[in-house]
């Protein structure tokens, strides 16, 4: 039985392209939508199995994207399955990526309640073509993406750095309608309406061959000319060619680009040729002597004559020909490699349907494994395309858990994308998933949204609402519980189970996609087939085409009150004209004004920075003020600014990457009689200006402190010269020469009575509502202004001859100091002691080698206080390579100790982001090194008690991070070592259990 169950899905409008995901779980179609191009992603399972098709709980359609403005001509999955590229008549190529699954969502306002059960997001739009894009193709290993267009060009895009363009291939003099990459990546071939097929070298992007002879007779036009390269690289098969005035698919041999053979038989032009990506060998029959047959390839040819033929390169005649499969021309073909019974193929047509054809391996032979295929490549081309990963070791271990398998596959997928140097890749540019909700449920947020949301007035009195960000753009992360990412397992049952549990009842795609049955045309058989084919087609006679209408008629929902509604209806769609009130013109300018300011702020900041850079970084802040004063006097020329000498300094607060994060700054060592202005906070923007000795009243010199916050100014006078000042978005602290510390609110209210310090102030820091003061007497104090909780006076753990070289205060009010001997301490309020967080001379840091554990997904945590104290270029592992002679177990222990130190330090510093960062590295290290006991203990600690009991002292959160969320992040890491699959399953199950509670 070579062919079973042709089934059809309907787009209604023409379908121009179909492509099956490399993992075989879904497929994409592209075509004409209602008034736009349409890309749809479908679940493969209902196509493969009848029972799944009938099961209403299994979604047929997974996602539809109407973003193309005009007809979509081509959809192609990347080889790693992470991306989908689509090209259309709107001249655009869009690249899509799966986004985290938030829940089934309908298109808002769409009355068809057809839910998108997957989220695919356009991550990049490639603009260069000046005409319709006809075909797109990913190169082997997804290094490049090629697109061709009716503008006669082919554009090669850098798939690791979208939207960068590598080159534009010019040479065709007609519409370019098909592309195919050489499987070993040496060439790309294109076919165009100019009666030529051109082969281009990828080395220098020059034309290698221009084949015109077989196409000279070609008349008329076909919509597409999808040519294909055989998986062994030996043959290139063209679409529409002519031989003796008969339409053919021309076979072009790689060796000398000879054109001696062709596939003949179609009555009209060939539109599409598609090789099965596998290489086959003859099936070993039981009993027969095993003779090593020559490997061969399998190729499907679709034509305008609505028929499809399948050929083996080892046979002279087609394996099968199916006539009148469709009502209109065949547009695209895609192979699926693993089905339950063998191989399958999706074929789409202009008539708006997709047919599924199923082949048994008996007919096609046994597909070679990837290794065998690679060795063939190696034999022929001398280089292997084998992706060196853990596949070999993988194949020896049986994966017991479908979740596990899925993680493995995802990991491999991502590993493949990350191959090669400098693969910045779209995902690195795409923002990462970051739960912004802080564990608060969406329901809670919604309840208080109106009260909580920030509303301000713009300068012209308009309301401006800052929307609450409930999720950052999350193209990178995959929800772990996605049903159709589950591989098609032979059992099939586990998947169905998942499906039913996954699909919540509120959306019922099954209902919308009411399936109608329609008997198929009886396929006719004309070419001389093998007997088995005839049998297959007989079977086919009672097959059905399934037509699913995904555009159910929209009914008038509120049938009553027709008359007034008619009048009202136009109002829904008409654009607002000049409505009384505010006109749109104002809005754009009004929107601009508040945004201009932060930009100024940034430039101001840069200004400060550049000036700061001119002075040496490692200044001893414990040095006397005089020294600093003289220092600033030495270079007035440099800092001359409007006749005033300005010295601006920024203390060691880490600069956050985002504007939104408050940046707290310190002005220090203000020269007498000078005016200093500094921006102390970005959001809201706060400027602090200090002028000493503004006026002399009754012999005492007054200093003025001016503050500008969001355009509101206040100022105050101080009886003594200001020595140093600092501020955050909440508080401002000013230390005067008379050792008096004054603390003001951001509006200028004095928050604390003037505090007399014992020794001269050496540094002041503000961070949120904390104020920290470091004095020359090596004492450190932290005040929490909101709660007026005076923190104790701490004596800085100065060594014999070390001085404080750096000091900072974290957002959480943890004081941190760096000493000149390279050690950094922070004060742990829970332990009431100073704890060492960094030591530049620490041999552990030098020797720890955890580079292999650095996640490619996580941005290096360079912004946290820990990173700041340890130096941005943490030179961990720098010596590691030199120490390669060190016994492995020694290095392992050192790395382990180092990572545990980092975790502890991040914990004391209350730096949640860094804690998470190091935790994941730590987990990965444990996984790589196979330290099961520690790993188990870590998981246990993160999971906590499954059953509530009063005696446990387990806290569900660390630094505001939910431990179970952390565990959920750790689990995919565990999967990387199959040894731990039991551990994985155990904790995965428990997490599930807890979630369902």
């Amino acid at each position: 039985q070579s062919l079973t169950k042709p089934r059809k899905k309907e787009h209604c409008k023409p379908i121009f392209s179909v492509d099956i995901h490399p993992d075989g779980t879904k497929f994409a179609t592209g075509g004409q939508g209602e008034d736009s191009g349409k890309v749809m992603i479908w679940n493969m399972a209902p196509v493969l199995r009848e029972e799944d098709e009938k099961n209403e709980n299994i979604p047929k359609m997974l996602c539809q994207m109407d973003n193309h403005l005009a007809c979509v001509n081509c959809v192609r999955w990347s080889n790693n399955g992470l991306y989908l590229a689509s090209g259309g008549d709107d001249k655009l190529v869009m690249v899509w990526k799966r986004a985290a699954f938030i829940g089934p969502s309908t298109v808002f306002g769409s009355s068809s309640k057809l839910a998108n059960v997957e989220q695919w997001r356009c991550v990049t739009i490639l603009r260069n073509h000046t005409g319709d894009v006809m075909d797109v193709a990913w190169s082997p290993h997804d290094v490049w993406l090629a697109s061709c267009s009716v503008d006669n060009t082919i554009v090669i895009w850098n798939a690791r750095k979208f939207p960068e363009m590598v080159t534009c291939l010019r040479g065709h003099t007609g519409l370019v309608k098909g592309l195919t990459w050489d499987p070993v990546g040496k060439y790309i071939a294109s076919q165009a309406d100019d009666h030529s097929l051109k082969v281009w070298r990828t080395v220098d992007w020059q034309m290698d061959a221009n084949i015109t002879k077989p196409f000279s007779e070609c008349g008329g036009t076909t919509h597409v000319l999808r040519l294909s390269w055989s998986p062994d690289g030996q043959y290139l098969v063209s679409a529409h060619a002519m031989n003796n005035s008969g339409p053919t698919a021309q076979i072009v041999e790689r060796d000398g680009w000879k054109t001696n053979m062709d596939f003949v038989g179609h009555r009209k032009a060939v539109t599409v040729v598609k090789f099965n990506p596998k290489i086959f060998k003859k099936k070993q029959k039981n009993g027969s002597s095993p003779k090593p047959g020559c490997p061969y390839c399998c190729c499907a040819v679709g034509s305008k004559d609505r028929s499809l033929s399948v050929w083996l390169t080892s046979l002279k005649r087609p394996l099968v020909v199916i006539h009148d499969l469709f009502d209109k021309s065949i547009m695209d073909i895609s192979w699926i490699i693993w089905t339950l019974t063998g191989l399958g193929m999706l074929v789409c047509s202009m008539d708006g349907t997709v047919a599924y054809l199923d082949f048994s391996l008996d007919e096609l032979g046994d597909p070679l494994s990837e290794e065998e295929k690679n060795s063939i490549h190696q034999n022929i081309y001398g280089k292997s395309l084998a992706i060196t990963s853990t596949e070999a070791q993988l194949s020896t271990t049986i994966i017991e858990n479908p979740e596990m398998l899925k993680y493995q596959q995802e990991r491999q997928n991502s590993a493949q994308t990350n191959i090669g140097p400098g693969c910045a890749g779209p995902e690195s540019s795409a923002p990462k998933l970051n739960s912004v909700m802080n564990g608060e449920s969406l329901e809670d947020i919604r309840k208080n949204l109106l009260k909580k949301q920030v509303e301000t007035r713009t300068a012209d009195g308009r309301r401006r609402i800052t929307p609450l960000c409930i999720a950052q753009l999350d193209t990178g992360d995959f929800s772990p519980a996605l049903f159709n990412s589950a591989p098609i397992l032979p059992s099939g049952s586990s998947m169905s189970n998942q499906l039913t549990s996954q699909l919540s009842s509120d959306s019922s795609p099954g209902q919308a996609s009411s399936l109608g049955l329609r008997p198929s045309h009886d396929p006719m058989l004309t070419s001389p087939p093998a007997s088995s084919i005839a049998k297959g087609l007989e079977d086919n006679k009672d097959g059905y085409k399934l037509r699913a209408s995904f555009y159910p008629c929209l009914l008038l929902t509120s049938a009553s009150k027709i008359e007034p509604m008619k009048a009202l209806d136009s109002r829904f769609t008409e654009r607002s004209k000049a409505t009384p009130g505010v006109t749109a013109a104002i809005s754009s300018t009004a929107g601009l004004t508040p945004l201009d300011r932060p930009k100024d702020g940034i430039s101001a900041l840069k200004d400060i920075k550049s000036k700061e850079d001119t002075s040496s970084d490692s200044e001893d802040k414990m040095a006397t003020i005089n020294k600093n004063l003289s220092f600033s006097k030495r270079k007035p020329e440099l800092l001359m600014d409007g006749g005033e000498v300005v010295e601006k300094r920024k203390k060691g607060r880490p600069r956050k990457e985002k504007m939104a994060a408050p940046i707290d700054m310190t002005v220090s060592y203000i020269p007498v009689g000078r005016c200093v202005c500094v921006k102390v906070s970005m959001e809201p923007s706060v400027f602090l200006e200090v002028e000493n000795e503004v006026s002399v009243v009754a012999g005492s010199k007054l200093s003025q402190l001016r503050c500008s916050r969001d355009g509101r100014d206040w100022n105050t006078l101080l009886p003594s010269s200001v020595v140093t000042a600092a501020g955050s978005s909440d508080v401002l602290a000013v230390a005067c020469q008379d050792r008096m510390l004054s603390v003001f609110s951001s509006c200028g209210r004095r928050l604390l009575p003037a505090i007399q310090l014992a020794t001269p102030v050496s540094a002041v820091h503000c961070s949120s509502h904390f104020v920290m003061v470091l004095t020359a007497g090596a004492t450190l104090s932290v005040w929490s202004v909101g709660a007026i909780l005076p923190k104790n006076l701490l004596f800085v753990p100065l060594g014999a001859d070390s001085t404080v070289s750096q000091s900072l205060l974290t957002q959480q009010g943890v004081p941190v100091i760096g000493l000149s001997n390279g050690k950094s301490y922070c004060f742990s309020s829970s332990l009431e002691t100073w704890t060492l967080i960094a030591d530049k001379g620490d041999s552990l840091v030098q020797c720890a080698d955890f580079r292999s554990c650095l996640s490619t997904h996580d941005a290096p945590a360079s912004s946290g206080p820990l990173a700041v104290m340890q130096g941005r270029n943490l030179n961990a592992g720098r010596l590691a390579s030199r120490l390669s002679s060190t016994p492995h177990h020694l290095q392992q222990s050192m790395t382990l100790a180092f990572l545990e130190n980092q975790l502890a330090s991040a914990l004391t510093l209350q730096s949640a982001q860094e804690y998470r960062y190091w935790l994941l590295i730590y987990a990965r290290f444990l996984v790589n090194e196979g330290s099961e006991y520690r790993l188990r203990e870590l998981c246990k600690e993160l999971l906590g008690p499954v059953h509530k009991s009063a005696s446990t002292a387990w806290e569900p959160t660390t630094l505001g991070l939910r431990k179970r969320e952390l565990l959920r992040e750790v689990l995919p890491v565990i999967v990387e070592n199959l040894r731990f699959q039991r551990l994985f399953t155990e904790y995965q199950d428990q997490l599930e259990l807890l979630r369902n509670k």
């Binding site: 309301r463 753009l473 769609t573 000049a578």
Partner: protein
């Protein structure tokens, strides 16, 4: 391609007395950081007969809008009853939520609103002069009508196809018939084609 997708609009405080403020909880998603604010408006259609009774209940700027999913509640005061024709006070009308970016409207969400007396006595014999204190406003929240327009999201005018979507300036529009884009006008009860625009 639209950079902002409205994912959901929840109608809060519905049904409610006529004088209560309108509250819509709007969830939207933005593909990339928007350099400018979005402007949202609530327009109350006072009378089906004429646009001159339209009232912009309020307009707010929403921003900054970084890439991601966001939500906010848009609250606007009830319409000024003085501007509503007495004959249209009771019955069905429409409230519109529109959003513009750089002065171009890219989405219009419409709801039917039914204003009726809760008191059966009044329902039977409505007073000649509408008694707004007794009216209840019921927004047909389950049936939003969404129209999406392609606009030029970038600052520079590089697409001529968008020009038709730009709001006509007030003085021109007063001379022209309502700016109806060909093909965007749906037959009654049908969704406009482009309303399926989705992410």
């Amino acid at each position: 391609m639209a950079k902002v997708q409205v994912l959901n609009v929840a109608v809060l405080d519905n049904p409610s007395p006529f004088g209560n403020p309108f509250q819509f909880e709007i969830t939207f998603e933005c593909m990339e950081d928007l350099p400018e604010d979005l402007e949202w408006k609530i327009i109350y259609v006072g009378s089906a007969e004429s646009e001159e009774y339209d009232q912009v209940l309020d307009s707010v700027l929403v921003g900054p809008v970084p890439a991601g999913r966001h939500m906010f509640v848009f609250q606007a005061d009830a319409p000024n009853t003085g501007l509503i024709p007495e004959s249209d006070a009771v019955g069905v009308t429409v409230v519109l939520i529109t959003c513009t970016y750089r002065g171009q409207e890219f989405i219009r969400i419409g709801y039917y609103v039914n204003n009726e007396y809760t008191d059966p006595e009044l329902r039977e014999n409505p007073p000649l002069k509408p008694d707004y204190t007794q009216l209840q406003r019921n927004i047909l929240a389950s049936n939003p009508r969404v129209t999406r327009f392609h606009i030029n999201w970038e600052g520079s005018a590089d697409k001529m196809e968008d020009s038709e979507n730009v709001d006509p300036s007030p003085n021109i529009s007063s001379m022209l018939p309502p700016s109806c884009i060909p093909g965007k006008m749906p037959p009654l009860g049908l969704m406009p084609d482009n309303s399926m625009d989705c992410m």
